[in-house]
Symmetry: C2
Subunit: 526 residues, 2 copies
């Protein structure tokens, strides 16, 4: 089901229950870009905390613009999952003049990639659901309440008497400057006529400055006491003007002010928008499945929860707090007992492998009114579809774990202890020796004696590196920039030979052991 | 005429002549955003050089995605303009793996604004014309030529003999490591079979590493000398593999390499894309008209010419060099003899005013095949339409200047000395006392004795400022942030009274003369 701002409110009504009833949830996000080379180019030998920092500085300025959510509910009687998929379009439309006007990054290749998969950018910008972070919401709420308070003070009869002056700001009525007197008089005359004639409920005053509005507020209050209510509205081009409304009593007036506040609070509530979906997911404490989900997680937290914190440890605890049970199918697929049977873990390949022996896809029924996604259709990179496929892959792999049990289990549920080993470990991309970030524990810290940092002349190509290292067998090169790279030996036992013959001064290149290079890097030499 | 990558090459063919024949050109751009408050919030009392710096840091990361160009050609016989409008969609699609992958900023409110005027984002991302700056083009050209040089070296028979070794890199053939011998042998066997069988023109070798490719190149060369040509191609997922082609002679081989270089150079030529339009405009030295064109200019130069330079003076000379004759209709409309007759200079209002007495729109014929824009249609914020309207407004105002001549002139041409006073002055927005940037001269530097900088508690509102200054008459407030503002007096003669009574220590606010504040600001106190 595509969800835009047109059907979001409707959808939200049932979502809470759908999530509550789910056995597990799968998610996926699409972004306006992935990384900024200057701010955080990921590198294969990043430690998890370094990788986090690169994502925080290099990725978090991009925007999540589509969010896929798929609720899988296991029906015992039928031994089948009932599936409901949502494909949310998200866009930070400023909903009022106080609301934040986002600046965000895009990456050409990412937009082109999405476009080539049929992504509808017009839909996201025209119909995307808006959102606010809790911090933004609180600040807007405060602004609203302050405004209300000010209006109440201005419209209070006490305001005109010296006793009514707010002691904190020590402000009373302003003396009307000479050059404003004619203007104010003309307005008061207009209002008198309006009140006498008694036709029409409201009167729009002409656009004027903030100071003139203040003068109008206080003069009207002094002259008419009751019977009239004033409210500032926005015209075109951000012009502001006052609307006068006939009111029968002081109470009627207060009531109108209260109504106005209520409407504005409702509007704010609506502006919180998509953030509510994330709150529902978070509060459910359900198992949440993603595929290669680190970037999704980082974006979801940053955009709808709290800004990514400066330390990796705080990121871990923030994630645990928001989503206590996470599982990454890419990590699961690359771990025993799957890794020997699954050679490529890209989502599109994984779903194919898991349809064949010894695996089996779960039986599912797509609920009425939700998109009839199928594992064989080609809607990859639509977030709702990818979330669906991810959930299917998880269920298939989970069930496979049941086949080793005595007696074998046909279905392994999301709450089963069999999936515990995979929980809260998110896949670390392009990392040859640290497969995952452990969000609920201490990260791995493998030995890297066979890894070297090398700098060389700009003219060098991969072949020069292969040639330099050829006495020590095959190597793996990870480029840092065009004059440096990280090289690791397939034959780890040759590490000391490399140190002996290559780590010498005076050559066109410098080879340093990786650990030594990192130490220098951290101590600020770089 | 909408121009996308589908019809760009076609359109470019005739554009050179259209521009050459034009009497004047009008332009307009649409952007992904306008400004970043943190990086450069424009303020009403910016001096032109400050404003330039704010645009450079705060605006240049946004992207120009639609460019309107309108060529007006005056036909003497008919005393009418012949008009050709172009509406270019522009997007920096990375055209090859070496091409830059842009990261750019978007501003929510700007995208929403464009969307509300019917802007088609799918079209721009899917069909936008790509572009390269001269610097990018040169660097890609160099990469291409280097690659070609390397290939020629590898495929040269000399390479296999020690004499053929390039003395600069002092690299000869690599010794084949033991673990690669089987692999290389198997490849050589495959190629032998391919050459013997003589069916099919080409043979794709399996995907392998860069080092293995190097070994293949050199071994094939050693073993077969001639008769075969190798070329590396990209497979899926950036995998690279070698394609072998049968060739009859050494010359045939060189010819194939030359062909490849030629194709790649053509592709690069194509990738230069939209930049060529800007070059044509620049080289034409024609009068170029824009409406409130400072941001357009900055983006055009930054995106298609050279990065905006660090100093304002360099920006001026770069602009003069790229576009020696510019005219801004917003500035023209706010200058004598127009300013007394034209009260609002927003493009949509201006075009209405200029249709009535004492003005008159020029007679125009829209050329066959070009969009039939009309001054009364409502396509505002489509770049092509805005360019058209801007051109119409210019022609109308220019002709009005002719009415003061003896005898009156019905048509004032773009080359007339009557428009000289308006040349190369671009409108400065939100600037109460400096109407324009003078790109060809020294900027105005008005006295600002009646302007004050004030800091105050966060709780203060505009009314508090009006109240504080009320003894000195009406004021104009320009907010800097929520605890400071710039205030100017309508009654300049009260300036010294303000200094006397408000510039005192110990108050909840601090009032400083604007000049003094700027000096402190520049000297780094802020
Ligand atoms: N000197 C040199 N630098 C290279 C070479 N290949 C890649 N690099 C550098 O390494 C960076 C990353 O390259 P790579 O990881 O191969 O490409 P990517 O992962 O497709 O972006 C490039 O931008 C270059 O600066 C090479 O052959 N020679
Ligand atoms: N303290 C205070 N700050 C304000 C007030 N109005 C505006 N500002 C500040 O000035 C900034 C710019 O405001 P303004 O120029 O009126 O709005 P804009 O041009 O529509 O963005 C705001 O973001 C606030 O920080 C006010 O009444 N009191």
């Amino acid at each position: 089901m595509d969800v835009t701002r047109k059907n979001f409110t409707e959808c939200l009504k049932s979502l809470q229950k759908v999530v509550k009833d789910a056995s597990f949830l799968s998610i996926d996000g699409e972004f306006t870009g992935l990384d900024s080379p200057q701010l955080g180019q990921i590198s294969p030998y990043d430690y998890p905390d370094e990788r986090y920092q690169k994502i925080r500085t290099g990725s978090s300025d991009f925007l999540l613009i589509q969010f896929g959510l798929c609720a899988f509910r296991f029906i015992e009687d039928k031994q089948r999952y009932e599936v409901k998929s949502y494909n949310f379009y998200i866009f930070p439309r400023p909903y009022s003049r106080h609301a934040p006007d986002h600046r965000f990054l895009c990456q050409s290749s990412s937009l082109e990639f999405l476009a080539s998969h049929g992504f509808d950018f017009n839909k996201v910008i025209r119909e995307g659901i808006s959102y606010l972070t809790p911090t933004q919401e609180a600040s807007l709420r405060e602004t609203l309440e302050k405004q209300h308070h000010t209006t109440m003070q201005f419209s209070s009869p006490l305001f005109t008497s010296p006793d009514g002056v707010n002691p904190v700001s020590s402000k009373g009525p302003v003396a009307i400057p000479d050059e404003q007197k004619d203007f104010v008089d003309s307005i008061l005359r207009k209002i008198s006529e309006f009140l006498e004639k008694n036709d029409g409920e409201t009167l729009d005053l002409p656009v004027c400055t903030g100071f003139q509005r203040k003068l109008i507020y206080q003069s009207v209050r002094q002259k008419f006491k009751t019977g009239i209510h004033l409210q500032t509205k926005n015209g075109e081009n951000k012009d502001r003007f006052i609307v006068c409304t006939r009111v029968s009593s002081e109470d009627h007036m207060k009531q109108k002010e209260a109504q106005k506040l209520e409407i504005e609070q409702l509007e704010l509530e609506e502006a919180v928008g998509f953030t509510k979906v994330i709150r529902i997911l978070s509060e459910s404490c359900k198992l949440i499945i993603g595929h290669n989900m680190l970037l999704d997680l980082a974006h979801i937290l940053h955009q709808f929860y709290y800004p990514l914190p400066p330390t990796y440890e705080d990121f871990k605890s923030m994630t645990r707090c928001a989503f206590p049970r996470l599982l990454d199918t890419k990590l699961m697929a690359s771990t025993h007992p799957f890794k020997d049977k699954i050679f490529t873990t890209a989502l599109g390949d994984l779903v194919k492998v898991l349809q064949g022996e010894p695996f089996k896809m779960p039986n599912v029924d797509i609920s009425e009114g939700y998109t009839k996604y199928s594992v064989n259709s080609d809607q990859h990179h639509e977030a709702g579809f990818d979330a669906f496929i991810t959930g299917m892959c998880f269920a298939s792999m989970a069930n496979y774990l049941g086949s080793f049990q005595q007696p074998p289990l046909a279905t392994v549920q999301a709450t089963s202890s069999l999936i515990e080993p995979f929980l809260n470990k998110v896949f670390l991309m392009r990392s040859p020796d640290i497969p995952y970030m452990d969000l609920a524990g201490v990260d791995l810290h493998p030995k890297r004696d066979h890894v070297f940092h090398i700098t060389f002349p700009k003219e060098w190509k991969a072949t020069d590196l292969y040639q330099l290292f050829s006495p020590f067998g095959n190597i793996n090169i990870s480029w840092v920039d065009d004059t440096s790279a990280v090289v690791s030996l397939y034959k780890k036992e040759n590490a000391s030979a490399v140190l002996k013959s290559l780590c010498q001064e005076g050559a066109a290149y410098t080879v340093t052991s990786f650990e030594k290079f990192k130490m220098a890097d951290f101590s600020g030499e770089n």
